[in-house]
C-alpha cells in the first residue's frame, strides 16, 4: 500500500514541478532577449551601428531578427570586432566580447574628492566613475568629470606616453540646487500658465533648478502621461493632500500662486541659500543598464534621516492636447516610474561622511530608450509618508543620466 501512496505522491510532485514551468516571466513572448557581455565590463553597446547608451553587462528585449552587435571602450580593442546574432522570439542569446588594452596604451588615473562621478574623455562618456584607471592610446586628451550637482567646469588636458600612468585629480565643489514639483494635466485650462512660469524660473536659474511634472487624475479627459502609470501620479497628490490643479511645490513647500514667476522665484531663492537645510544634502551619480543606479550622497553640516525619492522621468514629449484647450505643448520631466529607497525605514546620513549606494531594478519603462529618460532624485527628510507643510524639507536634488 505504501508504495502505491508514494507513487501517487511522486506523480503529483512531477505534475507540480512541470506546472511550475508556467511561471510568467517579464519577457514579452514576441521578443527575444539579447545579453551583451564583455570582460572587462563597461563597454558601450552598439546594435546595428546605433548606440544603445548602455554599457556591458547589458540586457535588451528586442524584436526577433538579426542584429549586428558591437562594443566600444576607449583604450580597449574588442575581440571579436562584431557579433551577428540571429535573435529568436522567446529565446536568449548572449554576445560576449573580450577586451584587450590597445598596444600603445597609456593609463589615466582619475580621482576626485568624491567617488561615483562620471568621467569623460574628449567630452565622450567613458562609462567609468571616479576613481578609475582608464587605458587610452598615447596622445593628448581632455579629461573631465561632471555631475549636475557640481558647480564649475572640471577639465584637464593631459599628454600621455605609452606605458605610463598619469594621475588626474579633481576637487569638486557643490552648487545649490532646488527641486520644483509641478502638478498639471494635458487638458487643464489653467495649467499652461503655471507650466510657463515654472519653465521661466528654471531658465532664469540657469540650470540650478529642476522641475518634475506630475500628471494626476482630473476630470475633463484622459492624460497619456497619467495613464502610463496612474498610481505614481495620484500617489504624489495623496502625499501632499490637495485637490485641484495647477499646483507648484518648491522643495516640498507649496507656492500660493503657481502662475506667478516672482512667487515661485521667491520660494526658490529661499531654498537656494547655502544656509538652508535643503542645500546641506547633495546627490550625484549615474544610471546604467536600464535601471542600475550608482548614487553618491553627502551631508555637510547636518545629520539627517530620510529616504530617496527616485523619479524616472521622460525628458520631453511634444503632445497635442485636446482642441480648444492647450493645443500643442511640450511636456518635460514627467515621471514614468517612481521608486523609494529604502523601501521601508530610513537611511541615516552623518555630516561629512559621503555614502555610495548601488541600486538595481530602478528600471525605465519596458521597451524605453534609455537616452529618453533621466533619474531625478531627492532626499526626503524624515520620510514617514506624512506631509507636514511647515517641516517638509526636500533636500537638494540630483539628476542621474545614462
Amino acid at each position: 500500500m505504501s508504495r502505491k501512496i508514494i507513487f501517487l505522491f511522486a506523480l503529483a510532485i512531477a505534475i507540480l514541478i512541470l506546472a511550475c514551468n508556467g511561471t510568467p516571466t517579464d519577457n514579452d513572448p514576441e521578443e527575444g532577449k539579447l545579453v551583451v557581455l564583455s570582460e572587462p565590463e563597461g563597454a558601450f553597446v552598439f546594435l546595428d551601428g546605433t548606440s544603445t547608451s548602455q554599457t556591458t553587462p547589458a540586457e535588451f528585449d528586442l524584436d526577433p531578427k538579426a542584429y549586428m552587435v558591437k562594443v566600444a571602450k576607449i583604450g580597449w580593442i574588442a575581440t571579436p570586432e562584431s557579433i551577428r546574432v540571429n535573435l529568436l522570439a522567446d529565446e536568449t542569446d548572449t554576445a560576449f566580447f573580450e577586451l584587450t588594452p590597445a598596444s600603445d596604451t597609456a593609463f589615466i588615473a582619475v580621482s576626485a574628492n568624491f567617488d561615483f562621478v562620471p568621467i569623460y574623455i574628449n567630452s565622450v562618456p567613458t562609462g567609468e566613475l571616479t576613481p578609475a584607471m582608464i587605458p587610452v592610446p598615447s596622445g593628448n586628451f581632455e579629461v573631465s568629470v561632471a555631475g549636475w550637482v557640481f558647480d564649475g567646469n572640471y577639465s584637464q588636458t593631459v599628454s600621455l606616453t605609452a606605458g605610463e600612468t598619469t594621475a588626474v585629480e579633481f576637487e569638486l565643489e557643490f552648487g545649490n540646487r532646488v527641486l520644483i514639483e509641478e502638478f498639471t494635466h494635458v487638458n487643464c485650462p489653467n495649467c499652461p500658465e503655471a507650466a510657463e512660469a515654472v519653465h521661466q524660473v528654471v531658465d532664469n536659474f540657469g540650470g540650478s533648478v529642476v522641475a518634475v511634472e506630475w500628471h494626476p487624475q482630473q476630470s475633463g479627459g484622459t492624460d497619456p502621461f497619467h495613464q502610463a502609470n496612474p498610481a505614481i501620479h495620484d500617489g504624489r497628490v495623496s502625499y501632499y493632500g490637495f485637490a485641484g490643479i495647477p499646483r507648484v511645490f518648491v522643495a516640498g513647500k507649496q507656492v500660493p500662486d503657481p502662475r506667478s514667476v516672482s512667487a515661485i522665484t521667491a520660494y526658490v531663492n529661499n531654498y537656494m541659500s547655502p544656509d538652508n537645510d535643503a542645500q546641506k544634502v547633495k546627490i550625484w551619480g549615474v544610471a546604467q543598464n536600464g535601471g542600475d543606479l550608482k548614487i553618491g550622497i553627502f551631508a555637510e553640516g547636518i545629520s539627517v534621516e530620510g529616504a530617496f525619492n527616485i523619479a524616472v522621468v521622460e525628458k520631453s514629449r511634444h503632445y497635442a492636447t485636446a482642441p480648444g484647450t492647450n493645443g500643442m505643448k511640450d511636456f518635460y520631466n514627467v515621471p514614468m516610474e517612481f521608486y523609494s529607497y529604502p523601501s521601508a525605514g530610513t537611511l541615516a546620513l552623518s555630516s561629512g561622511v559621503p555614502q555610495y549606494i548601488e541600486l538595481s531594478g530602478m528600471n525605465i519603462p519596458t521597451g524605453g530608450n534609455p537616452s529618453d529618460y533621466s533619474y531625478i532624485i531627492w532626499f526626503q527628510r524624515d520620510d514617514d509618508d506624512t506631509y507636514l507643510p511647515e517641516e517638509e524639507i526636500l533636500c537638494s536634488p540630483g539628476i542621474l543620466e545614462f
Binding site: F7, A10, L11, I17, L18, N21, L88, T94, S360
Partner: protein
Amino acid sequence: MKHILLRRISQIAGTLLANSYFRAWTGNPQIYQGKLKGIVPPILNCYACPSATVACPAGSAQHFAALRMIPYYVIGSIAMFGVLIGRAACGWVCPFGLLQDLEYKLGRLIKLPKIRIPKWTSWGRYLFLIGMVILAPILTGTAEEGFVMPGKTTFCKFCPAGALEGGIPQVLLHANLRPLLGSLFTRKMIILGIFLIAFLLIKRPFCRVVCPVGAFLGLFNKISLLEFRVDCETCTSCGYCRKVCPVDIAIHESPNSHDCIRCGDCIKACPLGAVKVGSIFGKGGLKESPSSCPAK
C-alpha cells in the same frame, strides 16, 4: 515476434525519431531549431547532433544550472516518465543504450573477454548527476548584483554521446570548424575511444556508471507505475536472468533495482517464468514479490 527483436526495433525507432532531421545532412547543414526541440525525452541524445529533433535532458539541465535557474520543465518531464515507467526508456528507446547493446553483442561474436564491474560502481551515476550536471555548472559561473555570468556545461565537455552524435558530425559537416579543433575535441575523442572499447567488453558501462539521466530515472524504479515482480516460490536463483541482463543484475535479488532498465529480457529468458511485469496497482498474487526473494 521475439522479444529481443521487438526491443531492437523499438530502440532503432527511438534513435531515428530522436534524430530524424535529415535535412541537416544535405544542402544547408543547420541544426534543427524547431518546436520539437522543446521536448525533453528520458534518453541521452546530444541535441548538438545535426539531425537531433529533441532536447537532451542532461544538456538542458546544465543549461539552466549554469544560469542559476531551476529547470522545472526538465525535472518535471523526466520525473513524469520516471514515475510512470521508471528506466524503461533506457532499455527500449535510448540511442546510446542501443549502441552499447550492439557493441557488447559484437564483442561476444568476436569472442572478446567479458569484464564484470562491481555493483557499487553504479553509484557513480549520482556523482556525475550531482557533480557535473548540477554543481559544476553552478559553481563555474558567477552572480553579482543579480546579474549571472553563466557557468560551464561541464558534463557536455565529458560526454562521449555528445562527442559521437554532436562533435564528430559537426566537424564532418562544417569544414570551417576544423581549424578550430583543440584540446577539448582531442580529450573528448580519447574519452569516446575509451568508452567504445569498454562497450565491447562490459555490459552497458556508460548506463551503469556514468549516465545522469539514468541516475535520475532510476530513483523512480521502486515506485513507478510499471513494476517487475518475481515469483519467489518458483524462482530457483539459477542466475540465468543475470546472464541475459544488459546491466548485469539478478532480478530476483531486487526486481525494482535502480539499475534495472526495464528491458524485460529476463522475463523472456527465465526458464520458469518467475519474472512478471505489471502495474503497481495490479494484483501480483501472494507468490509474486516486488522486493527481493529470500536466498536459496
